[in-house]
C-alpha cells in the first residue's frame, strides 16, 4: 500500500491555548441561571422541569392504579391531598375516587408523560446539552430562541399545572382529547375550563417545541466544527436531528387540529361536531366530523411517538457502543433505519383508527405500511445486540438502562405487530393490550433512554459522578417493576378489558383478573418508590458527588474534551477539529481501547487502516476540509 510519511506532524489546532473571547463570561444570577442563553444551562432547566413533571405524572398514575387495583378500598386518607375528589359515601363512610376525576387523572398522566416529560424533558435536555458539545459548537445557533423555547415550555407547564387545581378539574377527555367529548363543556366537567387550559398550554408547548426544533436543525447543519462531516456525527446527533425534523413537520398539524377544536368549543363552529343530543336536547352544531379530528391528531400523534423514542435510541446507541468497547454495529444502517422510520412515521397514522368505520381496503394499506416499520425497528435491535455481542461490556448504570431500553423496545415492538393488523385490532383496540404495547415500547423504553442519558452525561453536566451502586439498585428495581406493571396488562387486554374504565367489578367476566390488577398496582407503587433512589442520587451527587475525571467512560466524542466545568462557549481556546468517526473503540493495533475523534490519523499509525493512512495527507494540508477529487488518469488504490 501507499507509503506515506507519517512523521510529518500536521498542525493540530486543538492544542494551542490562546484565550478565547467566550472564555470569561460574566453575568449575574439572573442571566446565568434563569434567563440564560447557554445551552448547557437551558438543558439543565429542561431536565429539572422534566423530573418534576415525571414525579407529578407518576403520582397521578399511582392514584388511579389504587382505584384499579383496590376498587373496594377506602381512600378517605387521600382527602388531605385530593379534597373533594374523594367522595365519601354518607352511608358507609367509605371514600372513593370521583369518577370524572379518574378520567382527568388518566388524561393528565398521559399528557404529562408524553409531552412534558418524554418530549420536552427528553429532547429539551439532551438535544440542548449534546448537540453543541458533540458537534463542536460554542452554543446553539440562536441562544435567544433557545431561551425563549424553554420559557414557553415553562409557561405551558405553569398553565397545565394550574389546571390540576381548578374546581372543575383538569382536562378529562384522554390525552388524545377526541371530540365530541372534549368539545362540549356540558358533557363532563373535564371538558370545561380544564380543557381550555389544556389547549392553551399545548399551544405554548407547540411554540416551544418549534423554537427548539428550528434551533436544533440549524445548529446541526450549520455549526459543526471543522472535520465534523455528517458521516462523523455521533448517532445521538443523528437521532436528535431526525427528531427535530419530525417535530417541525408534525406539531403544526396538531396546532391546526387544536385551533379548530378551540373554534368549535368557543366560537360555535362545527368542524368536528354534528347531530349531538345532550340530555335529550339537540345541539346547534351541524355538519362536522369527529373522525376528522382523529386524522389530524394522529398525523401528529404517530410521529410524536417517534419524537419520544428516537432521542432515546440515539442515546442508547452511544452508550452501548461506549460500554461495549466496540464500534457501533452498522453505523450507516442505524442512520438509514432512523431515516426510514422518520419517513414511515408520517404514513401510518390511521392504524389508530382501524375501528372508526374506515374502508377495509384502506385499512389493509395502513396495515401494510404499519408492518413495514417493523423492518427498520428490527434492524436497530439487531444492531444493538450485535454491538453487545462479544463486547468487553462495562455495566455502568447508563449501560444497564440502555440494555433495558433494547429489551422494552423489543417486547413492546412485537405487540405492535399484533396491533398493526387491522383485523386483530378490532379485538384489541382500546383494551389494556394497547396500554401494555405503548407503555413498553414508548413509555418505558424512552424513560430508560432518558435515565441512561442522565447517568452517562451527569459528569459532564455537573462535573461530578453519580453513585454507581445506587444506580444499579435503581436499575434493577425499575426494570423488574416495569415488566411487572406492564406485562400482565397484555393478558388483561386480551381478555377484553377496556382502557379508561373506572371500574370493572360490575362485569362478571373480569372477576378473574382482580389479583392481576392488584399485582400491577403494587408493582406500580414499588416502581415509583424506586425512583426516589434516583432522585436522592441525582441531587446528592450534584453537590456531594465525587469529582468527575475528564473522560470517565473513556469516550471518543467531543464533549469529553471540554473542561470539567465548561463555561459559556464550551472550549477554552479553539474548538477542536475532528479527524475520525466517533466509534473507534478497541481498534486493532491501537494503544488504548478508544481513540477520541480529535486524534488525527497521523498520530495513530499503529492502528490505521490503509485508506486512513491516505487521509493523513489531507489532515496535513493546513487542516482544511478537503474533498478528494480522484483523477481518472491516475488509477491508484
Amino acid at each position: 500500500m501507499a507509503t506515506v510519511d507519517i512523521h510529518a506532524h500536521p498542525p493540530v489546532p486543538h492544542h494551542d491555548d490562546h484565550e478565547h473571547e467566550h472564555e470569561h463570561h460574566h453575568g449575574n444570577f439572573w442571566t446565568n441561571y434563569i434567563f440564560s442563553q447557554d445551552h448547557k444551562v437551558i438543558a439543565k432547566q429542561y431536565l429539572i422541569t422534566g423530573i418534576i413533571w415525571a414525579l407529578i405524572g407518576g403520582t397521578l398514575s399511582v392514584l388511579f392504579r389504587l382505584q384499579l387495583g383496590f376498587p373496594d378500598a377506602d381512600l378517605s386518607w387521600l382527602r388531605p391531598l385530593l379534597g373533594g375528589w374523594i367522595v365519601i359515601d354518607p352511608a358507609t363512610q367509605v371514600g372513593k375516587l370521583d369518577t370524572e376525576f379518574y378520567l382527568a387523572l388518566v388524561t393528565m398522566h398521559g399528557t404529562i408523560m408524553v409531552f412534558f416529560v418524554l418530549t420536552a424533558g427528553l429532547s429539551g435536555t439532551f438535544s440542548n446539552f449534546l448537540i453543541p458539545l458533540q458537534i463542536g459548537a460554542r452554543d446553539m445557533a440562536s441562544g435567544f430562541m433557545n431561551m425563549l423555547s424553554y420559557w414557553f415550555f415553562f409557561l405551558s407547564s405553569a398553565i397545565m399545572f394550574t389546571s390540576l387545581f381548578i374546581s372543575t378539574g383538569p382536562a378529562g377527555g384522554g390525552w388524545t382529547i377526541y371530540p365530541p367529548l372534549s368539545a362540549l363543556p356540558q358533557a363532563i366537567s373535564g371538558s370545561g375550563l380544564g380543557m381550555t387550559l389544556w389547549l392553551v398550554a399545548m399551544v405554548f408547548f407547540i411554540v416551544s417545541t418549534l423554537l427548539g426544533g428550528v434551533n436544533y436543525i440549524t445548529t446541526v447543519i450549520n455549526l459543526r466544527t471543522q472535520g465534523m462531516s455528517f458521516s462523523r456525527l455521533p448517532l445521538t446527533i443523528w437521532a436528535f436531528f431526525f427528531t427535530a425534523i419530525i417535530g417541525l413537520l408534525s406539531f403544526p398539524v396538531l396546532f391546526g387540529a387544536a385551533l379548530m377544536l378551540v373554534f368549535d368549543r368557543s366560537f360555535g363552529t362545527s368542524f368536528y361536531l354534528s347531530d349531538i343530543y345532550i340530555a335529550g336536547e339537540a345541539l346547534a352544531h351541524e355538519g362536522g366530523s369527529p373522525i376528522l379530528f382523529q386524522h389530524l391528531f394522529w398525523f401528529l400523534g404517530h410521529p410524536e411517538v417517534y419524537i419520544v423514542l428516537l432521542p432515546a435510541l440515539g442515546i442508547s446507541s452511544e452508550i452501548i457502543a461506549t460500554n461495549s468497547r466496540k464500534p457501533i454495529f452498522g453505523y450507516k444502517a442505524m442512520i438509514g433505519s432512523m431515516l426510514f422510520i422518520a419517513i414511515l412515521s408520517f404514513v401510518v397514522w390511521a392504524h389508530h383508527m382501524f375501528v372508526t368505520g374506515m374502508n377495509p381496503f384502506l385499512g389493509s394499506i395502513f396495515t401494510l405500511l404499519t408492518l413495514i416499520i417493523a423492518v427498520p425497528s428490527a434492524v436497530k435491535i439487531f444492531n444493538y445486540v450485535t454491538t453487545l455481542w462479544k463486547g468487553n461490556i462495562v455495566f455502568t448504570p447508563a449501560m444497564l438502562f440502555s440494555i433495558g431500553l433494547v429489551s422494552f423496545f423489543l417486547t413492546g415492538g412485537i405487540t405492535g405487530i399484533f396491533l398493526g393488523n387491522s383485523a386483530v385490532d378490532i379485538q384489541l383496540h382500546d383494551t389494556y393490550f394497547v396500554v401494555a404495547h405503548f407503555h413498553l415500547v414508548m413509555g418505558s423504553a424512552s424513560f430508560f433512554g432518558m435515565l441512561a442519558g442522565v447517568y452517562h452525561w451527569f459528569p459532564k453536566m455537573f462535573g461530578r459522578m453519580m453513585d454507581d451502586r445506587l444506580g444499579k439498585i435503581h436499575f434493577w428495581l425499575t426494570f423488574i417493576g416495569v415488566y411487572l406493571v406492564f406485562f400482565p396488562m397484555h393478558y388483561i387486554g386480551i381478555a377484553g378489558f377496556p382502557r379508561r374504565y373506572y371500574s370493572w367489578t360490575n362485569f362478571e367476566t373480569f372477576g378473574g383478573f382482580t389479583d392481576l390488577n392488584m399485582l400491577v398496582s403494587v408493582a406500580a407503587i414499588a416502581t415509583l418508590s424506586a425512583q426516589f433512589i434516583f432522585l436522592f442520587n441525582f441531587f446528592y451527587s450534584i453537590f456531594r458527588g465525587r469529582l468527575a475525571p475528564a473522560n470517565p467512560w473513556n469516550s471518543t466524542t467531543l464533549e469529553w474534551t471540554t473542561p470539567r466545568f465548561p463555561g459559556h462557549g464550551n472550549w477554552i481556546g479553539e474548538i477542536p477539529s475532528v479527524y475520525r468517526w466517533p466509534y473507534d473503540y478497541s481498534k486493532p493495533g491501537a494503544k488504548e481501547d478508544f481513540i477520541p475523534q480529535t486524534i488525527p490519523y497521523s498520530e495513530t499509525p499503529e492502528s490505521n487502516f490503509p485508506h486512513e493512512n491516505e487521509l493523513i495527507k489531507l489532515e496535513m494540508s493546513n487542516g482544511s476540509t478537503i474533498v478528494v477529487e480522484e483523477r481518472k488518469d491516475h488509477g491508484h488504490h
Binding site: V4, L249, V253
Partner: protein
C-alpha cells in the same frame, strides 16, 4: 505504489467555514416549512370533510380577487426594494418597503371586507363547515400576514437608520422571502378554494 501529491486534492473549503447558510435565514426556511405544514393540515382536512357531503356551496367574495391583486403587487414592491438595497439605492428602499407595508395593510382590510361579502350571502363563521373553513383559512393566513407586516415595519425602520444596503442584506432578504411566501400561500389558498368549493 505511487506517492500521493497534494495536487490530487482540491481545496474547496477553508477551515471554519462550516456555515453553509446564514443560520437565521436557514431557521426562517424551517419556520416556513412548519407554516406550510399547518396549511397542508387545514386544506387536507377541508378535502376530507368536503368528501363526506353535506357541504354548502357559495360564491367566494369578489373582493378576494382584489386582495389577490394587491398581495401580488406588494410582492413586486418588496422585490423592488430588495433590488434597490442591493444597488445601494437607499431612498428607493424606503419607498419600496413603505409601499409594501401599506399594500399589506390594504390586503388585510380587503380580506376583512370579504368576510362581510360572505355574510351578505348568509355565510358566517358559525354554520356549515364550508364557510367556517374559508374564514379559518383567511384568518390564520391574515394573522401570519400581520406578523409579516411587523417584520416589514422593522425593516422600514432599519432602512431609515440606513442599516440596509448592499453589504447588509440579510434582514431585508429574510423579509422578502417571508413576504413572497405569504403571497404565494394566499395564491395557493385562493386557487384551492376556487377549485374545491
Amino acid at each position: 505504489m505511487e506517492n500521493i501529491t497534494t495536487s490530487e486534492f482540491k481545496i474547496i473549503e477553508e477551515p471554519k467555514k462550516q456555515l453553509s447558510m446564514n443560520p437565521k435565514k436557514f431557521a426562517m426556511w424551517l419556520f416556513i416549512a412548519s407554516v406550510l405544514m399547518l396549511f397542508a393540515a387545514f386544506t387536507s382536512a377541508y378535502i376530507v370533510r368536503r368528501a363526506e357531503g353535506n357541504w354548502l356551496y357559495f360564491e367566494l367574495p369578489d373582493l378576494f380577487y382584489y386582495s389577490t391583486v394587491i398581495i401580488l403587487l406588494s410582492s413586486v414592491t418588496m422585490q423592488w426594494a430588495f433590488f434597490a438595497a442591493r444597488k445601494d439605492n437607499l431612498e428607493m428602499v424606503k419607498v419600496g418597503v413603505g409601499v409594501t407595508a401599506l399594500l399589506g395593510v390594504a390586503f388585510v382590510i380587503v380580506q376583512f371586507l370579504g368576510w362581510g361579502q360572505m355574510a351578505d350571502q348568509g355565510v358566517y363563521l358559525v354554520g356549515n363547515p364550508s364557510g367556517s373553513f374559508v374564514i379559518l383559512l383567511t384568518l390564520v393566513h391574515g394573522v401570519h400576514l400581520l406578523s409579516a407586516i411587523i417584520f416589514v415595519l422593522i425593516v422600514l425602520n432599519a432602512s431609515f437608520k440606513l442599516k440596509i444596503h448592499s453589504k447588509s442584506m440579510s434582514q431585508i432578504e429574510m423579509c422578502t422571502t417571508y413576504w413572497h411566501f405569504l403571497g404565494g400561500l394566499w395564491l395557493y389558498l385562493f386557487v384551492f378554494l376556487l377549485l374545491n368549493r
